[in-house]
Symmetry: C2
Subunit: 209 residues, 2 copies
DNA sequence: CGGGCGACTATACGTGGGTATAGTTTGCTT
DNA sequence: AAGCAAACTATACCCACGTATAGTCGCCCG
């Protein structure tokens, strides 16, 4: 994990503040989190937060930026390992809550777009090995898949309730992975159902055009 | 109050306040939304909101309750129509934003659980027609599927950016449905990939037990 | 008529919390 | 050593917003 020092700044007060902000924003959301609380967690004064980041909004942006850096590192690591690409929820441990917040209330758009970009590459490669063209563009599919993959981070609480396990535990992670693996390898719709639905969609499209 | 009639209250100030709250909470989130703003949208005074609902928290709970009522109605309608079960994002139109907020910051747990319940029924029925048992319980699968289905409501903004269309428009809806239909009817993982991943998972599980 | 009650408004109160400023310590350069 | 900039603290400001109170209007019941 700490094979290579990630950032020499990681012991500075600035880094501590940023990490505390990550946690507070993740736990309570951007609005409910207070600069005072963040300062206390980081063990610094209120003013120092402002000195380093200027405003709450700027602090949030710094967190977003840092999240992106983390993500790139995790992605490179995960690419080598097996199962890496499957479980974004596991991959990012303590940053999961912040990511979830950033996706819904904040500005994790670059992160999402990056996932789509990677997915597109992945799909284009896979499509090339296919006999018949897919009929739906890789970008649309990658978008849908990215959203689905992130749902487990965003809806963690509900997924945990549904599965009856905590997703912090490795046991919970495995439980989720097993279910994911099943769903990802078994189509939800039979060919007949899909054909029927597609027909219904075509009908509806022609009628409203 | 607590009228028993279906919707004769829908023109009363109380209903207007509730609807305005739904919109404000959905657009800005619970914290950022202000009672004053809600009152203004509803065309009433600040005090009347308090008179009818008592507190901001209670107002939110009234919204949650109303959302559940709406959902039940929409679900019954959707069950009959074709394509109904597929696109929860389309189904709930103006309530989508509020639902997304409630799922992440609020208390839409009953709603999620209801979706899981319905999914379990659906899957148990489908499993009965299967030759071999699925290996992953219906509840786990239903949970995963529910989360995935809701991701398009929660991550609407990002999905719209990815697809390049607005999900308000019927055109955007169709675009999404087409992509969904493809993904739902084509497994993401080939049998070999799935087997490999499952093997890796088993290995990992045995090593940590 | 009158009086009581629910719908509704106007105004005030208190405070949490983001922002701003002034002051103190630390450390580095010449 | 001097001095200056960055790191850091203490304190004050101020206003948005949830909450609370007092009061007005209109309707129904006896």
């Amino acid at each position: 994990m700490t094979t290579t020092a990630p950032d020499p700044e990681d012991l500075t007060a600035r880094a501590r503040i940023r990490d505390a902000a990550l946690r507070h924003f993740g736990e309570h959301g951007f609005e409910r989190a207070t600069i005072r609380g963040i300062a206390e967690t980081a063990g610094v004064s209120l003013g120092l937060v402002r000195h380093h980041f200027g405003s709450k909004q700027a602090l949030r942006e710094a967190c977003d930026e840092h999240l992106m850096k983390i993500m790139h590192r995790l992605h490179e690591e995960a690419a080598s390992r097996p199962l890496g690409g499957l479980n974004p929820v596991a991959a990012m441990g303590p940053y999961r809550d912040y990511l979830a917040r950033a996706l819904t209330e904040g500005s994790a758009a670059p992160f999402f777009d990056e996932m789509v970009r990677i997915g597109v590459q992945w799909l284009e490669e896979a499509d090339r090995r296919l006999p018949d063209p897919p009929g739906v563009g890789p970008r649309a599919r990658a978008t849908v898949i990215a959203a689905m993959a992130l749902s487990f981070s965003v809806l963690t609480k509900h997924v945990e309730r549904g599965l009856g396990v905590s997703l912090e535990s490795t046991e919970g992670q495995h439980e989720l992975l097993r279910a994911l693996l099943y769903v990802y390898s078994h189509p939800l719709l039979t060919p007949e159902e899909a054909a029927e639905a597609r027909a219904a969609l075509d009908r509806r499209e022609r009628s409203t055009s």
